[in-house]
Subunit: 212 residues, 2 copies
Amino acid sequence: MDFKDVINGRRSVNFFDPQRPVPDELLEEMIGLASLAPSSFNLQPWNLILVRDPERKRRLQKLAWDQPKISEAPVVLVVLADRSAWQSGHPVVERNFEEMVASGRLGRDQRQWFDDARMDLYGQSLEKQQAFANKNTGFFAMALMLAAKHLGLDTHPMDGFDHQAVRELFKVPERYWIPLLLAVGYFKAGETLLPPKWRKSVPEIVVDFESG
Amino acid sequence: MDFKDVINGRRSVNFFDPQRPVPDELLEEMIGLASLAPSSFNLQPWNLILVRDPERKRRLQKLAWDQPKISEAPVVLVVLADRSAWQSGHPVVERNFEEMVASGRLGRDQRQWFDDARMDLYGQSLEKQQAFANKNTGFFAMALMLAAKHLGLDTHPMDGFDHQAVRELFKVPERYWIPLLLAVGYFKAGETLLPPKWRKSVPEIVVDFESG
């Protein structure tokens, strides 16, 4: 599908067809495409919990403003942002270091620099850890939504949930933040979408604080 | 360009052709496409500072590990995440409320609900504000990188900069976080890219904390 059609056609869909499941292979293809998103030092601080079981979805729905799309969508992804994925010893950090050395991007003697850089950029405060984890997982989640559209699937990103209760329901460790839930499925035939919401124009997006 | 080619072809490019400028219209088209990214309550908590002037780029480069691509890329975007874009009175909040009422998505009598929801989800802590601003701006930044690729441009997202010093250089108000700098331009003919970095496999991305 053409990129322009994907980005124009992606909508946050409120009505999913509960009778039309998402095959495992398609979901894997979607996640695989999204995994190509870039990340800080390639640390990929994202994980997913897949919720397909009707009873788990029902319990999740109760913690998420009782939104029916959680039960109606065949899959709901609990998107996780790993706030610890910059720390020495984390498997992704160690694998990146080894791969950077192997590819010649970094010398083994630059380990101290590599550790200091991550600590300085991400480890100095909760504010920095939270920015690191959520920004990168935002890259990944956007790629998930666009990859879904490309594969003929629809999605709906959701913020409206009790963060602490969802953490407890799925036993999500404290090192993760839960930036969003993402419903995935097929738009239900016969339903109508409202027109797309307004967007800021380019001159509204571009700012300059120096001239004023 | 096909979506698959866009997502597979996007690379963080280290070498930009300083002789090949990015036309204003193309940059505007890129930002316009990216602005279609979804956001929490459509609050679009993102802004951009465009840095084209060689002297401004030189000063920015000094604050960003002296990375030559900042001077070489014809445009560098300072990507901003507005941590206040959920607050009552913010122009984007007020415009969304009016548009939701006009489109029938919300009743005017639901204003209190709307205010409470945003306060509860984003206003309770710095942790929540930081997650809100950075996650949504992550959506936008990913869309920027893919839209650039679709339009034949290359990009490089950068974390390696002195956050406070960049804030001061561009007089960025405290309400913003600066999640990344994004170099935009054309890959320099004759240079070679290293092979893409490894990515986590789907089984490494999908987790389940309940079963173990």
